[in-house]
Subunit: 469 residues, 2 copies
């Protein structure tokens, strides 16, 4: 939480005034400074207070981006790239003011190379739009962070989600980027070849840099063949340890599960209430298998043996698409089911990630902490990766609630770090996790700062995020 | 080839003299300046002329590395990390003199976390040593670049090899590093969690940085379960196009081949002669399948259907370990078979990597070029990744041979780049590919240089590699 990290920065009023004038002249109606535009371009999905940009520019090409960067760089004015606004840690706030760069009009699929299983898109394409576009090719882009985020935003925050256990995260699925650097020029980080040892891995340096090192103008992605068959399963366990043991054995045996999601008791209760279901209110795994008719059946069979060995209560499986949608309904609605536990409260979704051997301990200790703190906070985990989310429900208008939630979050992060884990598996650092990153990678922060200073000497790319300079 | 990139750099004689004295005093017998030690620590596996370091220090701990770095940094003297000496592009040369840091005594496996499928090792452990150590755990480290390289060297060059098609490259298999930076302090790049969005991805910045940004002191690696069953196959095709089409279809269908290697006609001829075999001297794929009894059989069956569709001549498959070793003998001995085509000549192995849709074209044009140039140069490819090696056999003492090989290599790289490929899929840049990297990622080099300058302002980490400053 660390509200101290959301303090306003210093505003360069003179530079901002100059840039507002120039951008208005250059972009006309495509540059907006009205209150509602500015509000729409800060954060709506978090507890963090909004810090509005001074204007919003709707770019339509890499040349537009270059123009914006050159203008802002000349006057040392901050820029904040904006995809769909679904990030969770205050990435879109403008603590020192500046210009929000809206990518919704840069949403073209530039090329698809079906034989090479890759495509190149503009950053404003959402994953939903991309998969709709790809449907006829038999290919899909697997990364699914839940929200229908933009590909540029997903690259910038190193997003992942439910099927990262099989397909990896954005770091594994971006082949190459074009990026506009602080001098307003566009660079390409890599060729389209599937692997390369050609120099520093700039692709992965920009992936996850949260807009602080440059502005992404195109993304080349790996694609996957749409599975011939998808199987789905649900399995309740007598306790958390048994469920996590089943996950560990599944991963160790190399069963290529596409998704293996853990919902805790409170989350299952919420799902039953919200979706009118009658699942056991026990720690439950939701599974998805991708492959052919034969291989998904085989995978499910192997999992069912593991589940039985771990003392699972009941394993339900189907390879029928409709039945699978029904089985998975609880998981798909988990967020809204959680919110519905207390519709009057705010919901703050936070995430940590630990080595999977520590997942059971970390979740159990967190549940105990939730009970002791008196919080309402269901847990959903991407268990195969050791990544889990706590949806904290609280009234952010009440200082005592906020303080309690903040203290809980500090303990959660401390616990994950002590277990060899990370303060964020997939949400990124933004403003919300700066102090935890400081704890996690204290020794490495000078290197990150040196890189930031070398590539953005005037601190104009999304300032006030990831770390203090 | 670009011999101009192997010119000596400026030597800081005063600093070197000071460092030699201090290291002798500090490390005693663990610091050597004799000619034979210095020769052993430059490059023996390439055509590039050796450029000897001034001394060799045998480090035994991260503290030793810190001492060496602080000493060299104080006197602005270059350091070149040394694993096993198997790199191919002049990475170990010391164009400006300096100190070779030998990691052969830092070869401990620090910890194995079997449940998490990870381990942490010192950089001097070879992949062979690691896999021997792991045998009883049921786990293995999959990356196999051919040579029994050190894990530190493999991380530094972003190595991969035959089974990258299934398990990825070092970029995908290093979870975290510790690195000694220019100020002589040790940093940790990440925690042990399987994924993270916590700040800049320094792990992948150091992986592939070829010792130019800091000195790796430990590597945390992902491990895999040893497959219950391994199947092997060999399949000859009437022509290159048919073989490459089979590869593309195999990848597109998502058959999780562990290895899919392409040997061209000349290579098959060399293998027959060297290993006394009687394979058809046609473009041939060597395959390996990892899984269970059932899944390897299924994978092989799926591949055989594809092969038939592509007009394959004959597909031989076995799930018996001995028979598989026999089937694969030709591939395993391919390098020595190639060298045996002309034992009196030097062998230079170079690699490029293209999108797989262009693999057939790139190999066919390269074969035509080889014929026209009158070179002896068999081709072996990691076909599933679009990566292939040309083993150029020539007399590097004859200027005309060298010039001819150099011109051929320039065309090979130009061809790969024009097809969206890279000048090096897995060997790295070192000295040998600097001019090709310049062609490939021209726009991005200023960013790489800025990072280098920010993390190594005195250019003491493996200077004269990857790019000119």
């Amino acid at each position: 939480m660390a509200m101290k990290d959301v303090q306003p920065g210093t505003r360069n009023e003179e530079g901002i005034a100059a840039v507002l004038g120039i951008l208005k002249q250059t972009f006309g109606e495509r540059f907006q400074t009205g209150q509602s535009f500015r509000e729409q371009h800060t954060h709506t999905t978090t507890y963090l207070p909004a810090q509005l940009p001074d204007g919003v520019v709707f770019v339509e090409s890499a040349d537009d981006v270059k123009t914006v960067v050159k203008t802002c760089a000349a006057h040392k004015v901050p820029m904040i790239p904006f995809g769909t606004g679904s990030s969770l840690e205050g990435h879109l706030n403008a603590p020192s003011g500046g210009i929000s760069i809206d990518f919704s009009r840069m949403n073209r699929v530039i090329e698809v190379n079906a034989e090479d299983l890759d495509c190149t898109v503009e950053p404003g394409v959402t994953r939903g739009e991309l998969n709709t576009y790809l449907r006829d090719t038999g290919l899909f882009f697997p990364i699914d962070p839940g929200a229908n985020a933009s590909i540029g935003g997903m690259a910038a925050t190193r997003a992942s989600g439910t099927n990262a256990v099989r397909y990896g995260t954005m770091k594994d699925n971006v082949l190459s980027l074009t990026v506009v650097t602080a001098d307003g020029e566009e660079i390409r980080t890599a060729q389209r070849a599937k692997k390369s040892s050609a120099g520093y891995d700039l692709t992965r340096l920009y992936v996850g840099s949260e807009g602080t090192l440059g502005i992404i103008t195109s993304v080349t992605l790996k694609l996957q063949g749409i599975p011939a068959k998808i199987g789905g399963g649900v399995c309740a366990f007598p306790n958390l340890k048994a469920a996590c043991d089943a996950v560990i054995m599944t991963i160790q045996m190399g069963i290529p599960v596409a998704r293996i999601e853990l919902l805790d008791e409170m989350q299952m209760k919420a799902c039953n209430a919200y979706s009118k279901l009658s699942y056991a209110e026990k720690p439950t795994l939701f599974l998805e298998f991708h492959g052919t008719e034969e291989t998904v059946a085989l995978q499910s069979e192997q999992f069912s043996e593991i589940a039985a060995e771990c003392g699972a209560d009941e394993y339900r499986y189907t390879a029928n698409a409709e039945e699978r949608a029904q089985l998975w309904k609880a998981r798909h609605n988990a967020y809204w089911a959680g919110r519905a536990l207390a519709p009057e409260l705010n919901g703050l979704s936070t995430d940590v990630c630990v080595p999977i051997s520590r997942l059971a301990d970390c979740v159990a200790e967190t549940q105990a902490d939730i009970r002791e703190t008196g919080l309402l906070a269901p847990i959903v985990g991407h268990a195969g990766d050791g990544n889990f989310h706590v949806l904290m429900l609280f009234d952010d208008k009440k200082p005592e609630d906020l303080a309690r939630a903040e203290a809980f979050m500090a303990r959660l992060n401390g616990r994950a770090l002590a277990m060899g884990g990370t303060c964020t598996g997939e949400h990124g650092v933004g403003q919300g996790k700066m102090s935890y990153l400081e704890q996690e990678l204290h020794s490495a922060l000078p290197v990150m700062r040196a890189i930031k200073k070398s590539l953005d000497p005037d601190n104009i790319f999304n300032p006030g995020k990831i770390f203090r300079l």
